[in-house]
């Protein structure tokens, strides 16, 4: 598996392999077999046989969905099309598919600087099938399970630690309470306030778009969960008045002039006016 992944990453090898007419189906079969074998090896023994068969079915379903919805840009085998700006999906893993499709970023209507989030039109099963198929193409992070991202039952100390991690790693782009921020060339770091815990963890692990990857080695699941808990809780803190978009001093200055000076000038006009005369 690892060997294959390395091979796939090197563009030279890949193109020469791909040129062979039989390469794609062979590779596919090989990877399907390998994925099946790996799953069988790592899954708990009791489920292995049934799951192996179910997975194969899921992957096949995913492949069909992929060729309908994704292949026009990413290629039938997920190899990507440089002129469309579509990256190869051979090593992005199931987590990336789940993130991109469940937030509606993929499929993209037309190529833009950045895939905007929109309404997701796929069912959970369809996403699972797509994810299983893309996962079968190479190596990449799997869809996280609930115990990896569900922040329920964290202690206050955990959450405030999450705040420290958030301000160190996330707020530079996503703002101090996850309201989002600007990046060069028209790109933006999106708001995190409507993101689900699962999506946040998937984004950390897969680095969608320009976002860097925050992998387990430096940010273990436990810490990621703390960050997720902080984002959830900081947005539930009661505000001391309208938060003016949570954007900081720019909005505050605007309101000082409009609401403050504006209303006081109206009062001043009233004070100095002569009013109705008999």
């Amino acid at each position: 598996m690892r060997f294959l992944a390395r091979g796939g990453r090197s563009s030279k090898d890949r193109t020469s392999l791909r040129r062979h007419r039989a390469a794609r189906p062979v590779l596919l079969l090989l990877s399907l077999f390998l994925v099946g074998a790996t799953y069988a090896a790592v899954s708990p023994a009791t489920e292995s046989v049934a799951d192996g068969a179910a997975d194969a079915q899921l992957i096949a379903q995913g492949k069909a969905l992929f060729s309908q919805n994704c292949a026009s840009c990413h290629g039938l085998g997920g190899e990507g099309l440089a002129q469309q700006g579509a990256p190869a999906l051979t090593n992005v893993g199931a987590a990336a598919v789940d993130f991109q499709v469940s937030t509606g970023r993929m499929p993209m209507a037309n190529p833009l600087v950045q895939a905007p989030a929109k309404e997701n039109t796929f069912t959970e099963d369809e996403i699972a099938a797509l994810a299983a198929y893309v996962a079968s193409l190479g190596q990449g992070p799997a869809i996280p399970t609930e115990d990896q991202y569900n922040p329920a039952g964290m202690s206050p100390e955990d959450v405030s630690r999450g705040g420290e991690l958030f301000r160190t790693n996330c707020s530079a782009c996503h703002n101090f309470k996850g309201a989002g921020g600007a990046l060069p060339n028209g790109a933006v770091a999106p708001s995190l306030q409507n993101a689900t815990p699962k999506q946040i963890l998937e984004a950390l692990r897969t680095g969608p778009g320009q976002m860097p990857i925050f992998a387990e080695g430096a940010l273990p699941d436990e810490n990621a969960k703390q960050v997720i808990a902080y984002i959830e809780q900081v947005n539930a803190v009661p505000a001391a008045g309208l938060s003016l978009g949570g954007l900081g001093p720019v909005a505050e200055g605007f309101w000082a002039w409009v609401a403050g000076i504006g209303s006081l000038v109206l009062f001043a006009v009233w004070i100095a006016s002569r009013g109705a005369r008999a």
Binding site: L242, P249, I261, L264
Partner: protein, 560 residues
């Protein structure tokens, strides 16, 4: 012992040793006499029926004054709990999301005020909104004084005091913004550290002296606290007193109008009208500020977190009044000299220190420059309508446009995302715009002023439009005009017009001559007495022959 410097033989105080027993004894006579016997109250109080003119734009400075009083009151409340210390502690207060986080005592005490002192958060928010209003109102007041020419003789010194107040207001605001030691304010201090360092020759020394060594050290918050609550408020208080004393001495300017001259002042008495109006306005400003504190959240430091030199947040911006410096820093090309073993950081020094220096020097010198250009040495108590000083108005608008461009550049990232253009393109555009837009603004403003002058002249000579369309016997249509009242006609024609200096016995340098021609250029000549008489004859102005309000059908402007 010192003799009184001035012995005024007319002063009633010298003649009357004891208060006269008045015919109808006022109920207040008792207490007033008691105090007066001891401190000369009647002399001190002066004329409590002093006249103040009424106009909304004269109240902008009052907003600044009242915001300052609100800042003093709320500031005292905050100092009761605030600890200006950079010693690091682990937070143990009631805001759960920062539990056990290491922070300075300054930040922890700010959280304490916000979460554990009842009403503390409200007072913090009132204090911050009042600070924003203080600087905003000073800016608005300064623009009013500029565009109406109220800075002219004899008020130049008061204008300079005002510029001093404005510059100190910025420093005071920045110091206050820095005190809570939160992530935003720490980022601001980091920026100031870079700014101080960039000063050629002495930058590093200045940095070490200001911060007590390297950034951030442990001294900057206590030092800024002293600056914020003692040094600058003291200077502000002194300067505000001088500003007000000069206002009382000069008496307020007033707008031109019938019966108003440079020798009189028309309005309402200080007591009781202005005691009620000014006092009432203080409560209105206070009320609005408290309501803003109640309804709009400001500077939620608990969300920013404590300062940590390795953290930063998107949207790190200073309060609005420092935005123009921020913008200049952003669009400055990256010019830096590396000469020998030294570094000359023009990319930081010029837009930071240089631009602020230029702004305040330019503002302070303007009254003298204008007086030099126009050769005007007389006293002015009547205000100019901005259109009647087109070059000054143009300069003012150009200055505002330049400031606005720098200010917008401070949000170049936001502009780039909102208008879907490249950040680089916005930056390049702004580099040009800060020079070109002010020039365009000057040209456009001057033209608008001259058009308004023309419109005034038309109005005087043809009366105002009545919105009634009259059909004449030949079948043509024209709008009937209503004659102007003499009051309005006077108001529109009484202003002096800038004239170019002519060397009249006195030598006038060539530069000065050119500038004065430029200053006077293009004025629409006021109607002459003859033209006005002609207009009166046609009934465009009331008075003269026809006192009746007749509709004057004007078929074309040339007929008159």
């Amino acid at each position: 012992m010192a003799k009184p410097a001035e012995l005024n033989p007319d002063s009633p105080a010298l003649e009357v040793k004891t208060p006269p027993t008045s015919r109808e004894t006022s109920k207040l006579a008792g207490p007033v006499t008691w105090v007066d016997d001891r401190i000369g109250l009647a002399k001190l109080a002066g004329n409590i029926r002093k006249v103040f003119p009424d106009h909304w734009s004269f109240l902008l400075g009052e907003i600044a004054l009242y915001s300052f009083i609100i800042l003093l009151l709320t500031g005292v409340f905050l100092t009761i709990w605030f600890k200006p210390s950079m010693a690091e502690i682990e937070y143990a207060g009631s805001y759960a999301l920062l539990r056990d986080v290491r922070m300075s005592e300054a930040f922890a005490s700010t959280l304490n005020i916000s979460f554990d002192i009842r009403g503390g958060l409200l007072v913090r928010q009132i204090h911050h909104w009042a600070a924003m209003l203080f600087v905003a109102a000073m800016t608005a007041h300064m623009l009013r004084v500029f565009f109406t020419g109220a800075f002219r003789k004899p008020r130049e010194l008061n204008w300079i005091i005002g510029v001093g107040l404005f510059s100190m207001g910025l420093v005071e605001g920045f110091a206050g913004y820095s005190l809570p030691d939160d992530l935003l304010s720490g980022t601001g201090l980091r920026f100031v550290d870079g700014l101080i360092r960039s000063i050629p020759l002495i930058g590093t020394w200045a940095e070490f002296f200001v911060f007590g060594g390297e950034f951030p050290g442990t001294l900057i918050i206590p030092r800024l606290y002293m600056v914020h609550i003692l040094l600058i408020p003291g200077l502000l208080l002194g300067l505000i007193s001088a500003h007000m004393a000069l206002l009382v001495y000069h008496k307020h300017t007033h707008w031109p109008g019938p019966g108003r001259t440079n020798r009189n002042i028309q309005g309402y008495p200080f007591f009781p009208i202005y005691v009620a109006k000014a006092g009432g306005f203080f409560f209105i400003v206070f009320g609005v500020t408290v309501l803003m504190g109640a309804v709009f959240q400001i500077n939620p430091v608990w969300l920013y977190g404590p300062y940590n030199p390795s953290q930063v947040t998107a949207g790190s911006q200073p309060d609005w009044y420092m935005g123009f410096v921020e913008g200049a820093i952003r669009i400055m090309p990256n010019w830096e000299w590396h000469l020998g073993h030294t570094t000359w950081s023009w990319n930081v020094f010029l837009p930071g220190v240089g631009l602020m220096g230029l702004l305040f020097t330019g503002l302070a010198l303007y009254p003298f420059i204008e007086a030099w250009i126009t050769g005007d040495t007389s006293e002015h108590h009547l205000l100019d309508r901005p259109r009647n000083a087109p070059v000054r108005t143009g300069i003012g608008v150009a200055g505002m446009a330049c400031y606005a461009m720098f200010w917008l550049a401070g949000g170049n990232d936001i502009l780039a995302t909102q208008f879907h253009v490249s950040l680089n393109a916005v930056t390049y555009f702004m580099r040009v715009a800060v020079f070109v837009v002010p020039v365009l603004a000057f040209i456009v403003t001057k033209r608008i002023c001259l058009s308004l002058q023309r419109a005034d002249k038309e109005r005087v000579l043809h009366g105002s439009e009545s919105n009634i369309i009259v059909r004449n016997p030949e079948g043509g249509f024209s709008e009937a005009h209503v004659p102007l009242s003499q009051e309005e006609a006077y108001t529109l024609t009484r202003h002096p017009q800038p004239k170019a200096l002519v060397p009249n016995g006195v030598k006038v340098g060539r530069v000065r001559q050119t500038l004065s021609r430029w200053y006077a250029d293009g004025q629409v000549p006021k109607p002459t007495a003859a033209e006005v008489a002609e207009a009166e004859h046609h009934g465009a102005i009331e008075g003269g022959e026809g006192d009746e309000r007749v509709l004057e059908g004007s078929d074309s402007g040339d007929a008159h």
